[in-house]
């Protein structure tokens, strides 16, 4: 085997192991307080996830994320559909969607606090603001993507507007809606953590604040990696659902 073909067969997880090993070495022999050894972080992580503080933080976070995402779905998908089927709506709302999809929304969170209070409501609003726009855009793209001939076909065979909507447009847009949903989850996870950190009194934000204030670097990194892992698993799970519907995106 050539070097090239060996590299082709290396499982992708290996780079994570190499990175963890490097971290371990730097942690042990680097003498940097900010970077404790990876093995200790891992052990701390196992301890942390069993503490009541962590479980409470997770519950608060899941609640804010869940409510924010639910709102984003209930608003985002219908809005995307509306923009997809109705030109005037698209013309009027397009500029707003484009502003918000590219805006650094983090900057808005401090502005939300005086309006919604320094608490869960602000975090929910942050999740919503982070997640909703990509859902709007992808849903609209999905509706536009449904082939003109499918709509002609449905009209030709006597389909009513309602029938065409539920039997052709919506299922036809499903692959893009699911992509939008996955991206919305990615953004929503960022939203919930950013919201909590800016508020610094809630959920993981409170824990991060606590660990950093007291310079508990092992706990801090342990929490970072646990949050990373949770976000990764969540997004992968949605991606799994999305790929189940891939088969019909290719055949339109």
């Amino acid at each position: 085997m050539t070097a090239r073909s060996i590299l082709d067969h290396v499982p992708s997880g290996v780079s994570l192991l190499v990175w963890a090993a490097l971290w371990e070495l730097v942690g042990r022999f680097g003498g940097i307080d900010l970077i404790p050894p990876m093995s200790q972080i891992a052990l701390t992580a196992i301890d942390i996830v069993q503490t009541e503080k962590f479980v409470t933080a997770l519950a608060v976070t899941a609640q804010a994320f869940g409510i924010g995402m639910a709102l984003a779905i209930v608003v985002g998908i219908p809005l995307g559909v509306l923009m997809g089927v109705w030109r005037p709506a698209e013309r009027l709302l397009d500029v707003w969607v484009n502003i918000f999809i590219s805006a650094p929304l983090t900057a808005l969170v401090p502005a939300l606090m005086p309006l919604l209070g320094i608490g869960q409501t602000t975090v929910v609003a942050t999740v919503f603001l982070f997640a909703v726009w990509v859902l709007v855009i992808d849903t609209r793209a999905g509706i536009h993507h449904v082939g003109g001939s499918l709509l002609d076909m449905a009209r030709l065979f006597g389909g009513s507007r309602t029938q065409i909507f539920f039997k052709v447009l919506l299922p036809g847009a499903l692959p893009e809606i699911l992509t939008g949903l996955r991206l919305a989850v990615v953004r929503g996870v960022k939203g919930v953590v950013i919201g909590q950190i800016i508020i610094a009194l809630l959920g993981f934000g409170e824990l991060f604040e606590l660990y950093l204030q007291n310079f508990l670097m092992e706990e801090f990194w342990a929490l970072v990696f646990v949050v990373f892992a949770l976000a990764f698993v969540l997004v992968e799970a949605v991606g799994l659902v999305e790929r189940r519907f891939d088969f019909y995106a290719g055949s339109r």
Binding site: G147, S149, L150, D152, M153, A154, R155, L156, F157, G158, G159, S160, Q163, K167, V168, P171, G172, L174, F247, Y248, G250, S251, R252
Partner: protein, 275 residues
């Protein structure tokens, strides 16, 4: 079909008293139809056309001349800029149960099985599930797709997809079957097989067919009447009845002297427009 029954019905529409194609009362009347798209493209320029009942009429013209546009207008999917279309003496204002269309790109729902796709026209009309699936199953067999009921379109070849499209159009039992270059997306051998199977099917299903193609051979092979369309903006440049008996065995038609002569003749006519 054996030789004796073939002899007994010399023309497809043998039951029709008038005999000649031109004498039959037209089922579709296209009257001065002009189409100008919003972007300024003039597709059709005053088309006058009668489609005889119970026959296969082909619209033959170069790509982009407006054949699909004309079919869509007859189907009621788009209103013409000027002129009218009447089906059975009633002015067309929208799609109706008397017209079905087979789409060039199949227009099958990718998320639905062959069975649901074929039954979809009936589903939209509110036919109960058991009933519409029984009807669909029959037409799936008729077009030669038996055994593929529970496959999805992307599991089928182009030829098989179009068989499903044809079955869907037949299942709604419309008087008029319109076909927009139905076989253009499949390879040559499959195309011939589909043409032959279509002729056999039409022996059983007495329909008025409006067929669109840009292939002279396909037009002559299938048609009782050929309408030549000129380049955009399209007009009717000639009408030719082929006089071919379509109830003979499909492979014999291609050897029929009339088939060969008509192909030549149409090619001669079309050549004039190609300069």
């Amino acid at each position: 079909m054996d030789a004796s029954t073939r002899d007994a019905c010399p023309a497809r529409d043998a039951g029709h008293p008038a005999g000649g194609v031109a004498d039959a009362t037209p089922i579709v009347r296209v009257d001065g139809v002009t189409m100008r798209y919003a972007n300024g493209v003039s597709a059709l320029d005053g088309i006058d056309l009668d489609i005889p009942r119970g026959r296969l009429t082909t619209l033959l013209g170069p790509s982009g001349c407006g054949k699909t546009t004309l079919l869509k207008i007859i189907a009621g999917l788009i209103p013409p800029t000027a002129g009218t279309v009447a089906v059975n003496d009633r002015i067309v204002t929208g799609p109706g149960p008397d017209r079905a269309l087979v789409f060039q790109d199949f227009a099958l729902l990718p998320w639905a099985t062959v069975l649901r796709n074929v039954a979809f026209g009936l589903e939209l009309r509110g036919v109960p599930r058991a009933e519409r699936e029984a009807i669909a199953a029959k037409y799936i067999r008729d077009v030669g797709l038996a055994g593929f009921e529970h496959q999805y379109p992307n599991q089928l070849s182009g030829g098989m997809r179009q068989r499903a499209g044809l079955a869907r159009a037949l299942a709604v039992d419309a008087d008029i079957l319109m076909m927009d270059e139905p076989f253009s997306a499949v390879d040559e051998q499959m195309r011939r097989k589909l043409q032959e199977d279509l002729l056999s099917l039409l022996q059983v299903e007495k329909k008025t067919v409006i067929f669109v193609t840009h292939s002279i051979e396909e037009a002559v092979y299938l048609s009782d009447r050929i309408v030549l369309l000129s380049r955009r903006p399209s007009r009717v440049s000639a009408i030719r009845d082929t006089g071919i008996a379509h109830d003979q065995p499909p492979d014999q038609i291609r050897r029929d002297r009339r088939y060969l002569d008509t192909v030549d003749e149409i090619w001669d006519t079309l050549k004039q427009y190609l300069q």
